[in-house]
Subunit: 79 residues, 7 copies
């Protein structure tokens, strides 16, 4: 359905370029997860290192190494 | 199931024509994301640049470069 | 699973007949989107022109040209 | 996975027998939609004519001809 | 992924054995639907006859013949 | 994507080993269902016998033989 | 869509390396499940041993051996 658009930045390409860099995930339940992106798969499941979870009203929580399910992700910001 | 309708503007065509232009995304949780559309894939995952997040009651938040999951998008308006 | 029923109006056929006509979308979050249907794809993603968003308690909002994700649509009424 | 059970009324068969008859749809958000079933597809997207929407506390709303997304339907009652 | 387990009662087998018997459906929105199971398909869409809808605080509602979408069903109890 | 890991207990294997034993299901809406696991299919639809439903504030409810849709299950504990 | 990126830690690889180690699951309904990861499948359904469920306001609950549906998981942290 989609051809090859050389002028586009594909979501996948941006994620690939972000490996080993810091990203900030917004999850569907409103949590933010900051950490270093170690990898991802075709479902946009992601691996973060040194992940820190932030929720509006509670203390940041250190999660360390974490697998995040793509289906719970709203957006991935590069930092 | 759907043939070729020359008189139609397909969603994909409109998105393609919007690359490098400003768009405004409405997300399922009510957030608005404004930014320049850099690209998208067949799941309607989108790449925005210079993205700004607006939520009714809180300050706009600069997100910079961001990948947005298509499954969380309600609509994409051209600006 | 479904054969050919000449006596049926298929959803797809009705949408096709509605291109370039005004429609009113009801979205899952209760929003109404009125506009001219420019096209749609097999996921029922839709393109509206001159779209106006109405939410119960807030002012109508002009959206102009907009892609609406089929997965967020409840119903499409012909006007 | 499912063989042929002559003693069963398949959902699809009942819908087919209901074309051009009045049905009442219950939607996931609690709305009721009454109207004449004009057709449906394999996703249980439905076409209703002379549709009337009823919500507990608000006035019935005449929708006329409407496409309803199968994914938002809870049940379809024959009237 | 799953082989043949002669010692198992498969969900499909139990449903098949329940055709023309009374069942009670629990739906995702908390409704109960009681009625005679007339048939079902591979998506667990179900046909009930003489269906009665019960909601905690409201009067039981007679629905007659009804198609119930499998995706809204939590459980099916044999009565 | 996943090879053969002899050192793993696969979810499917554990379920198979649990047939004819008591399990406790946690459902998405917070209900608990206790009963004897009679079988399951590849969608993790489950058959329970002598099922008892527990909800925080209400009386336990005897459901007898029940088919539970896998898509509504959070977890399955062996008892 | 995704090629082979030797520099990436794939979600699947991290899970595989975590078998027989302690993990902490965050579920969509806010529950935390701590336990030893015994295995998982391609849907990210997981098997935990000696699982303990923690909910903000209630007592931790010992679940023992448990199958957790991947579709209800937000994240998996290594401990």
């Amino acid at each position: 359905m989609i051809g090859y658009y050389p002028f586009m930045v594909l979501p996948n390409d941006l994620l690939e370029a972000s490996v080993n860099r810091n990203v900030s995930l917004l999850l569907k339940d409103g949590r933010l997860l900051d950490g270093k992106l170690s990898g991802f798969d075709q479902y946009m499941n992601l691996v973060l290192e040194d992940a820190i979870e932030k929720k509006n009203d509670s203390e940041p929580r250190r999660l360390g190494k974490v697998v995040v399910r793509g289906s719970t992700v709203v957006s991935i910001s590069l930092m």
